[in-house]
């Protein structure tokens, strides 16, 4: 919710893997569940993943709109409720045979922070940046500027603290950035911008309009359930951005856009857990699992976890979304 989903997987894996080893449970489902969860909850708040940020740039959704919007619970409460139900279902599906542990001491694990000053500075900066993002409307600057300013000022402070924090140098931090992802998203926005300028999205919206005019609930249902399998097979960011623009066109033609924005955002995120192709975060999770277990994970094994997870969360979120936003 607060951190990019790939970063979440990289942060949580060192916590989960020793636990899985100590409890003698297979690492693959544990890591995949972290991947699914990170991908899933990335859409709960504006800063967790790209789709909510796209909603911010296309429709102007702000931080608090993800909590409560037009007097209704929106992304955070709906996805949180969905997540809790899905977690219970997945425990019953795949983890109920696992050993119960009363305390971390039983596992014989010892965790400590090697550099307390470094940890304190990074956590304080992180919380400050998140707070600034949540207050973006009142500060009056762009969301990207806040994130960029937070990252740059953190690097500056760490450089000033020098050897006391033993942080990576500025050059190393810049090199560690996922530049491929940065350029991918630049290209993605350029491509969808081209589709908009050439009126392809207006044509798409025109084609969709009769469905929503005749039966809005049916239209929202079709949009949701067509999106789930598609984003399981193609990268979800491109799909979501295209349809966010198409929904904006629908809004300009007099169709109420917000329930559709939310249904698209949720189905686009939840469906992307179906296969590795849908979400790059899952590729990272799968690689970590394969490295840990020193074996390849087959598609059959991956699907045995991803299909139940996606089905349960998509069904629960659909029911909540329809009851709260569409009907």
């Amino acid at each position: 919710m607060f951190v990019d989903n790939v970063v979440t997987i990289l942060m949580m894996a060192p916590v989960a893997l020793p636990l899985a080893r100590a409890m003698r449970i297979p690492a693959t489902p544990v890591i995949l569940m972290i991947g699914f969860g990170a991908n899933f909850m990335g859409t709960a708040l504006i800063i967790g993943d790209l789709p909510p940020q796209m909603l911010h740039s296309v429709a102007g959704a702000e931080f608090f709109d993800f909590l409560w919007h037009f007097g209704k619970p929106s992304s955070f409460p709906i996805l949180m409720a969905t997540f809790l139900v899905t977690l219970g279902a997945m425990y019953s599906y795949g983890f109920r045979g696992a050993k119960r542990v009363a305390s971390p001491g039983e596992l014989g694990l010892d965790a400590r922070i090697p550099n307390r000053l470094f940890a304190a500075v990074v956590v304080a900066w992180f919380i400050g940046t998140v707070l600034a993002m949540s207050l973006r409307e009142y500060i009056g600057v762009k969301l990207g500027f806040i994130a960029f300013a937070g990252a740059l000022s953190l690097m500056l402070v760490l450089a000033l603290l020098g050897d006391r924090v033993k942080a990576a140098s500025f050059e190393e931090s810049i090199q560690a950035l996922d530049w491929r992802a940065v350029f991918f998203y630049i290209a993605l926005f350029a491509l969808v911008g081209g589709l908009e300028k050439s009126h392809v999205l207006a044509m798409l919206a025109d084609a969709m309009k009769p469905l929503f005019e005749q039966d809005y609930a049916l239209g929202a249902t079709v949009l949701y359930w067509v999106t789930v399998p598609i984003v399981g097979l193609v990268e979800h960011d491109a799909y979501i951005l295209t349809f966010l623009h198409a929904i904006r066109e629908l809004g300009e033609a007099g169709i109420e856009p917000w329930p559709l924005y939310w249904m698209l955002l949720w189905s686009g995120t939840l469906g992307s857990n179906l296969t590795v192709a849908g979400a790059p975060a899952l590729y990272v999770a799968l690689s970590l699992a394969e490295k840990e277990e020193k074996r390849k994970v087959s598609l059959r094994e991956f699907l045995s976890w991803s299909v139940p997870f996606t089905l349960v969360c998509s069904l629960v979120c659909y029911a909540l979304g329809m009851i709260i936003w569409v009907l």
């Binding site: 109920r96 045979g97 390849k296 087959s298």
Partner: protein, 149 residues
Amino acid sequence: MFKHILLPTDGSRLSLQSARAGVLLAKALGARVTAFFAAPPATPILYRAMLPVGYATPGEHEKMTRKVARKYLGAIERAAAAAGVRCEALSVTSDFAADAILKAAARRRCDLIFMASHGRRGLRRASLLGSETQKVLSLAPVPVLVYRA
């Protein structure tokens, strides 16, 4: 000529026929055999012919895998015992049968892999060789004898 033959099986009728033929070849050559089975890793959902048919915990899955491996490998062991051929049984967990066969052949220093043209999966009449057999043929560093029935 060949001293140690690997006999992979997936429990299908054809692979058992192939393993029996492999045992007879080993007898004729005075070689020993290793019967080999790669079981799929534990997943909560169990499949038969690509369709989900049941649910199992990791513990249940392990028990089931052991039982199935005993059954498949036991048939080859019995055939070897009847023919007076020295036989070892080996089972591993992997969804990638061809990789597991190649790894087993290298670890056990087998000088021949004797396997059926088709396994459980795929269409027998539609292709000359099954996909796992093709992979083993392409990648094996030792001779591969394909048994076609």
